[in-house]
Amino acid sequence: MSRKRAPGPYSYDDDEDYVPSKGVKYSNVDERDPLKVKKHTLDSDEEEEDDGIIEKEPESYNETTQEGLDGQEDGALRLEDEQVITPFNMKEEMEEGHFDGDGFYHFKKDADIKDAWLEDIDWVKVLLKAATSNKYGNRIEASKAANDVMDAIANTAQAPMSSFKYIIPYPLLKPGETVARALKRYGGNKKISSAQRWKMKKKGGGGGDDTSSEMSSMLQLTELANTIIGGGNMDVYQETYEMINLKVQRSSAPPEVDMFGDLVEKKEDIEDKEVKDSKEQKDGEDHENGDTNEAENVPKVTWHLKWENTEEAETHGPFETSHMVAWQESGYFDKGAYVRKVSDEGGSWYSTKRIDFELYE
């Protein structure tokens, strides 16, 4: 009996560990054709008649075809006492997959590889979340609360330095004590002896003011410490007045400059620079302080200007680079002007059309 093989590649599908059995025979009865008796049974004493079947043995695995299933009925839907009945058939199932030799059903695999979890996604929900989330939550399916937390963390991360600066000018910390100790000093010491209590009562509201100011200092200190912890520095409670002072000093030290007044970028700092830049942009207070420091220390490039490149033309200047930039942008030099660096005495005059003053800022 020739057999049509159902189409479909050999595949694991989702049952990765399952290997369809390759001719594992649990019984001597041939499952494809139960009526046939196999060669090596006791009953098969007769000469072999069906060489054809034997040659067919090396198949990859036994597939159950439509024809091999018993009990299928032809025919479409039919009514039986007003109840729609479909005669048993496996047409749809065989379209979508196949049975292997062990009776397991395998769906037909699509050409493109899918992850199993992809089928479980509710795309409506995903799109809704994407619409409502901010830039932090775009790829992360976070809840609104989680987004708020991340916002808070992002904001506090930018202000650890300014928090540090607050602690020192306001004498919340005393020299030689840690943050934890200072907090204890402000907030603790609730044990008052009866004599002291009597004294306070006699004084009236005198003691009350002190405790409230201590309370506010304690709250202030706690708040600042909290923002610092939010910024990632977990050890702030153990840091002493001196350590914090040192950190603040280091962060606001004037940066090194090279001969052109440009910042010297060391190897280590090149990576840190991006971090620093983003910090400085948001930390407006520190940024301004840094700028004024730099302006005083660095010699600036200044320029002489003349309108014609002749010996007799009048030389104007010296002008600062920032002025030249502004003039260049406003179009002041459009008709052609010639400049020379003040430091370049005796050199040739260059046309402003070829000079980019922004490079010299």
């Binding site: 370049d344 260059y350 070829r354 490079l359």
Partner: protein
Amino acid sequence: MSYMLQHLHNGWQVDQAILSEEDRVVVIRFGHDWDPTCMKMDEVLYNIAEKVKNFAVMYLVDISEVPDFNKMYELYDPCTCMFFFRNKHIMIDLGTGNNNKINWPLEDKQEMIDIIETLYRGARKGRGLVVSPKDYSTKYKY
């Protein structure tokens, strides 16, 4: 003055020289020490080497000894100067039509200093192409 400037004798040395400098422009003169054009160029380079040492370093490469770059950089002129910063080739608009190199003997020392300084400033700011202060479209011999 070729003997005063450092020579690079093989392709690996050239690569290392370009890679090793993080803060300075690397100026490489490709040519031959005995060529008159190169001699003029080398003179200029040697004279300004001290003045620009904070932001530039010079090397000489004999293109017969090191032919590795001849095709890559199209080194067909007797004397070619190329500029690199942080392992990147920096182009200069000289007005000549060839922005990749200076392929004539530029004899004015101040102009050379200005070119290298402009290149250094521009490259520090991330520019791949800088404009030379002076236009050389009519002056250089092809």
